[in-house]
Every structure is written in structure tokens, then in C-alpha cells.
């Protein structure tokens, strides 16, 4: 422990006793508000039809400046070809892939000389990449978001460091809206789960939207049927 344990314990017990003393005077809660909360939780998208979900995902991601590519054919082979074509077309030269089986499969048709080894790499080394490939854990139609889980040092940097980011997912991962399943944390998980919705942006100068603030200026999500 970096901070003095005795000081920390004192601070903790003093804050706790202040809270308990304060809460001895209860607040009269507004009955209507409580009953509203007990009623059903708001569901924003009713549709669960895969076609509709996919169309909605594409539209919403487009609205926030991202691109969605729905791969025409089924299977991971078609996805890999589509990703490789995309990378060739846009001229990306240094590709960093998340340490993940699905991400590796999606990157399997990219020429080997363009790939860098991320395992054990330093942040300075990863900075050389001009494109990252990351696997989605789920896709949220309502907001055009991809949920990704990154659990080691290198993977945690990939969503932000390279100027372009590719996220690969499967149509079976599409869910209508943000929910506990997509957001949740399992007992043993460490690192970070991040909901990515479009490319990095800022509007801090006169409210003018600029893409590529600190993270990627370009975000493409590939969705393949499975």
C-alpha cells in the first residue's frame, strides 16, 4: 500500500460516520418517482429482426461519422477477404491486430509484411501502426456502437493509438439496444470493456466537430453473417 494505512483507515471511518450521521435524517421520497422506477425499464428498440437490426446499425454508425461494411457472403473467409481489400484500397501499411482469435482470422488475408507483432510491444512501437483491427464482443443497433473487450496493455491501446480503427463483428452479435449483457462485468474479467461509437471526436473549439481528436479519425465496423 502506497498510502499510509493508518491515515487511510482514519479517513475511511470518519467519512463513513459522517455519512451515517447524515442519513439518520431520511429524505421523504417522492412516491411517483419511485413507482416510475419500479415500472418497466425503457426499451428503445422493439425490432429484433436481424435485417432491421443490421440496417439500423449501419444508419446509426453513419450518423456519427463511422462506416459500416456488411459483408455480402457468409463466414469468416469472406470477412478476411473484405478486410484485406479494404486495407489495400485505403493503402494502410502497418497493421496491428488485437490478441484475439476472431480478430486474427479477420486479418488472415492481409500480407504478412504489413502486420506487426503486438505481443509484448511497447507503446512507441505500436504508434507506428496506421490501422488497428479489433474484435467486437457485441454490436448495438440503436446507437451504432461496437462493444470491445481489451485486457492486456497492447490491446488496450489499439482502439486509440492508430489513426484508423477496424472493428470486426458477426451479425449474431447485434442487439437492439444497450443492455446489461453488453455492458456488464464478469467476476474474473480485468482490463477494460469499451463501447466505441464512431471515430474519436471533439467540439471544444467553438463547437466545431473535428474527427480524430486523440483516437482514430476513421472507424470502420465490418459485420459478417454467421
Amino acid at each position: 500500500m502506497v498510502v499510509d494505512a493508518a491515515v487511510n483507515n482514519d479517513a475511511r471511518s470518519e467519512i463513513m460516520s459522517r455519512i451515517r450521521a447524515a442519513l439518520r435524517v431520511p429524505l421523504k421520497l417522492d412516491f411517483d418517482d419511485v413507482s416510475a422506477a419500479e415500472s418497466e425499464r425503457a426499451e428503445t428498440v422493439a425490432a429484433t429482426d436481424p435485417e432491421a437490426l443490421s440496417a439500423r446499425f449501419v444508419r446509426e454508425l453513419g450518423l456519427v461519422g463511422g462506416d459500416a461494411v456488411v459483408v455480402g457472403e457468409r463466414g469468416v473467409g469472406a470477412l478476411a477477404k473484405s478486410v484485406a481489400d479494404h486495407i489495400t484500397r485505403l493503402g494502410y501499411q502497418v497493421i496491428a491486430v488485437q490478441c484475439d482469435e476472431f480478430a486474427s482470422q479477420a486479418a488472415s488475408q492481409i500480407p504478412a509484411d504489413k502486420m506487426i507483432e503486438t505481443s509484448g510491444a511497447s507503446a512507441e512501437f505500436l504508434e507506428r501502426a496506421d490501422c488497428a483491427i479489433i474484435a467486437a464482443e457485441s454490436l448495438i443497433a440503436d446507437t451504432g456502437s461496437a462493444v470491445v473487450r481489451v485486457s492486456n496493455y497492447q490491446d488496450r491501446l489499439l482502439p486509440y493509438l492508430p489513426p484508423a480503427c477496424i472493428i470486426v463483428g458477426r451479425s449474431s452479435q447485434l442487439v437492439p439496444s444497450l443492455n446489461e449483457g453488453a455492458l456488464g462485468a464478469g467476476d474474473l474479467e480485468r482490463g477494460e470493456r469499451v463501447i466505441v461509437t464512431g471515430p474519436s471526436r471533439t467540439a471544444d473549439i467553438e463547437k466545431t466537430v473535428v474527427l480524430g481528436a486523440h483516437g482514430p479519425g476513421s472507424l470502420t465496423v465490418f459485420v459478417v453473417s454467421d
Binding site: 502506497v2 498510502v3 487511510n8 467519512i15 463513513m16 459522517r18 455519512i19 451515517r20 447524515a22 442519513l23 429524505l27 417522492d30 411517483d32 418517482d33 419511485v34 416510475a36 422506477a37 425499464r41 425503457a42 428503445t44 456519427v64 504508434e127 440503436d142 446507437t143 485486457s151 496493455y153 488496450r156 491501446l157 486509440y160 443492455n179 446489461e180 455492458l183 456488464g184 462485468a185 474479467e189 480485468r190 482490463g191 477494460e192 470493456r193 469499451v194 463501447i195 466505441v196 461509437t197 464512431g198 471515430p199 474519436s200 471526436r201 471533439t202 467540439a203 471544444d204 473549439i205 467553438e206 463547437k207 466545431t208 473535428v210 480524430g212 481528436a213 486523440h214 483516437g215 482514430p216
Partner: protein, 430 residues
């Protein structure tokens, strides 16, 4: 400002907005009513995940703990994601005093830091600076060729800050929601600077007020829908980070700060202010904030919510001033995503301040007393009118302007009194 409000209201139409607000209010009421249990549960679970919790009674204690963590890990610089609580801690000043360089990475905060200024809005800290201001600032401080193009300026800041993430020994973020059930916490942002600040340095220190804890992951869904819509008019921010505890090779600390929040909690009349999720919506609609700007409040938190929390949390002297800096029009209450009754809180604070005699309104009280006396007797009224006309005539010519009245008069021109009063005219009419 109006355009962004319209934009925001559009984003609120695709969800059951009122139902969400009521849910959020009730969820916060529940969390605050069980704050002790939830904080203990959060601590237990966070520690199980490998995190370390530091408790701080005051802002100074929190800043000291932060500096201690930096020293223990040999950090010579800290990259900071956007955090209002770090403003409470005066963390930049404290770090600099300890020889540790603080680097603000949120573009708005970075601009404000370069300018040696303070944030004027909780989510748009540099809202008071024009693109030309920023252009000149970058030219003088970063030696860049002048441009006032927001895109070029934003990208220049990106390039300048990139190396700083990779060098920093400690990364700091705030906390939007700490989840008791899982011991994890959520930070929302748009730029990617929060993600980099948390991930790139070997140590991540998150600083949160005690009121940030919520009960369950399921509750997040309600708050996330409200926060982005109210803050920026987005459905969801670009990045919603859910931090799950440090991975191998990483250290993660959570500094839990009281700094006056238990004083807000102790008074049932102001307890509701702890439900605030810091979206800044009350500022955007406040006619006083929109005219006066954030700096006018002279406090870390400006606007209606600032006027409520500042007197209790930080500065009792503000009790006689800030709660009065409002027209009580109620726009903030209508806008608040967690339905805090801000005008009611302001009225309560005014009442408390007047009964405690700290309102500093002796002059106003005396003036109103004199007004009542003059208006309830014809003789007194006539005398008062005569006296006032003479006083105004003298006051207009006199260069000597004493006291609070003088301060008021220095910025204003007194109208000349009419040549005759109504009564004089009436008595002289043919």
C-alpha cells in the same frame, strides 16, 4: 448555444425521456440513501479486482494522496483525462508544487491549461475562448504557425500530446459512475484522451466524489442514455469505458473524496444536489449563466448546480451570493436529466442565508423598510420625493460616489429628475 439546445432536444425524442428522468432520480435517491453500504460494497469488489482504494476527507488530503502515489511510482508527469473533481483538488497546482508535471489532455482543458485559465463549463471548459484566441495561444505557447481553423488546431493538440501519454508515469481520470455490485467504474468521453490516459501509463488513478456510486450495472443503461443526450446531444458518447480492474503489470487506484459532500448530504434540504451527474445542461439553459459566463461564479462548479453545491461544499461565504445569482425561472429544473429541483434548492439556500443574516443584504433590507414607511404615509411620501429629487440632482453632478451605492452608480448614468412632480403639475393645472 440555441442550435445545440435544439439538437439536444431532438436526441431526447427517441427515448421515453420523462420516464428515464424519473427512473434516474429514483435510482440516485436510492443510491444516496444507502451511500455507506454501496461505498463499502464498491470498495470490497474493487479490491477483489486488484484495485486499491484511498479515502480522502478533504480536497487537500486527496491531492496529497495523489502526489504520494506519483512519488511512490516515480512519476515525473501525469496525463489527465477530463475531471471536475481534479479542479476541486487544485491537482494541477499541487502536482506542479511537488515537481510533477500535470498534462491536461482533453482539448478544452488543454487550451485552458495553456492559457493559465480555469474551465468555464463542466463539459465545454474552453467555451469562453474563440477560435482566434486559441490560434494565438497555440502560436505563442506551442510555437505553431497561426491558424484559426478548429480542425488544424485540434490536430496540432493531438500531435503535441501524443508523446506525453507514452512518457507519463501516471494517468488520471475522473469517474462518471462507480458500480457497487461489480467494483468497476465507468468513464465517458469523446476524444479518446480518457482511454489513452487510463491505458498508456503503468498506473491509473481514478478520482471520484462519494456520490458517484450506483447500485447495479443495470442502472447504467438509464444514466448513459440521459448523460450524453443532456450533455452534448449525442445518443451516447464516442467512448464509454468500463474499467474492470488492473490487468497484469498495471496498478489501479481509486481515490474516494468527501470534500464537503457529506455537508450537502447532512442537510435534507440540499441532499438532492448529490444526484447530479455533471452533464452541464442546467448551465446551457440558465439565462444568468448564458449572460455572465462560468467565470462569474468564481467557483469550480458554475451555473445553477454550482450555486447550490458551492456554499455547502466549499465556501460558506458564497451562501450569501451564489443562490441569489438566479432568476428562479425554472429552466434548469425542466432540463435536469435527474430531475433535481434546483430552483427549490436555491430558494431554500436563500432562506437559510437570510435567517442566518449572512446574505449581506442589510442595505436592501433598510431600503425596503424605508420604502414601506414612505408608501404608507402621504406626508412621508412627499418628504421622501423631495429629498430624493434633491439627492439625485446632487448625485448626478458629484464626482464623489461613496459606498455600495457609489459602486452601483459608477457603472450607470442616473436619469435626470422630471422638471416638476406629478403633484406639482396637478396643483398648477388651470
Amino acid at each position: 448555444m440555441q442550435r445545440s439546445l435544439d439538437h439536444k432536444h431532438a436526441a431526447q425524442t427517441d427515448v421515453p425521456w420523462e420516464a428515464l428522468r424519473s427512473q434516474a432520480h429514483a435510482l440516485k435517491a436510492d443510491a444516496i440513501a444507502h451511500l455507506d453500504e454501496l461505498l463499502e460494497q464498491f470498495e470490497r469488489r474493487f479490491v477483489e479486482r486488484g484495485g486499491e482504494v484511498v479515502w480522502a476527507r478533504t480536497a487537500a488530503e486527496a491531492a496529497e494522496a495523489f502526489v504520494g502515489i506519483c512519488r511512490a511510482h516515480g512519476a515525473s508527469s501525469v496525463v489527465k483525462g477530463k475531471s471536475m473533481v481534479s479542479e476541486e483538488l487544485r491537482l494541477n497546482e499541487e502536482l506542479a508544487a511537488a515537481g510533477i508535471e500535470p498534462v491536461e489532455t482533453d482539448l478544452g482543458e488543454f487550451i485552458v491549461q495553456l492559457a493559465g485559465d480555469k474551465p468555464s463549463h463542466v463539459i465545454a471548459p474552453a467555451a469562453h475562448l474563440s477560435r482566434q484566441d486559441v490560434g494565438h495561444l497555440f502560436t505563442s505557447k506551442l510555437g505553431l504557425e497561426y491558424t484559426d481553423d478548429p480542425r488544424a488546431l485540434s490536430l496540432a493538440a493531438r500531435a503535441h500530446l501524443r508523446a506525453r501519454y507514452l512518457r507519463a508515469g501516471v494517468g488520471m481520470t475522473g469517474v462518471n459512475f462507480a458500480i457497487a455490485e461489480t467494483g468497476t467504474f465507468v468513464v465517458v468521453e469523446n476524444e479518446g484522451n480518457g482511454g489513452l490516459s487510463a491505458a498508456a501509463p503503468p498506473v491509473h488513478v481514478a478520482v471520484m466524489g462519494i456520490e458517484k456510486v450506483i447500485r447495479r450495472t443495470a442502472d447504467l443503461n438509464v444514466f448513459l442514455q440521459l448523460l450524453a443526450r443532456s450533455g452534448t446531444g449525442q445518443k451516447i458518447t464516442t467512448y464509454t469505458h468500463h474499467f474492470l480492474g488492473p490487468e497484469k503489470g498495471k496498478r489501479q487506484y481509486c481515490i474516494i473524496v468527501d470534500a464537503g459532500r457529506t455537508a450537502l448530504l447532512a442537510d435534507p434540504e440540499t441532499r438532492e444536489a448529490l444526484y447530479c451527474i455533471r452533464c452541464g445542461a442546467c448551465m446551457n439553459v440558465c439565462p444568468v449563466y448564458r449572460r455572465a459566463g462560468g467565470a462569474a461564479y468564481g467557483s469550480v462548479y458554475p451555473g445553477p448546480i454550482g450555486a447550490v453545491v458551492t456554499p455547502k461544499m466549499v465556501d460558506p461565504a458564497a451562501a450569501g451570493v451564489l443562490p441569489f445569482a438566479s432568476t428562479l425561472c425554472g429552466a434548469c429544473k425542466d432540463e435536469c436529466p435527474v430531475k433535481i429541483d434546483l430552483p427549490l434548492q436555491l430558494v431554500r439556500l436563500r432562506r437559510a442565508s437570510v435567517s442566518a443574516g449572512t446574505s449581506g443584504r442589510g442595505l436592501e433590507r433598510r431600503a425596503m423598510g424605508a420604502f414601506v414607511r414612505a408608501m404608507t404615509s402621504v406626508r412621508a411620501y412627499e418628504r421622501a420625493v423631495k429629498w430624493l429629487r434633491a439627492a439625485v440632482a446632487i448625485g448626478k453632478r458629484s464626482p464623489w460616489k461613496p459606498g455600495p451605492l457609489g459602486a452601483w452608480m459608477r457603472g450607470r448614468a442616473l436619469p435626470a429628475p422630471a422638471r416638476q412632480t406629478f403633484r406639482e403639475w396637478w396643483s398648477m393645472r388651470p
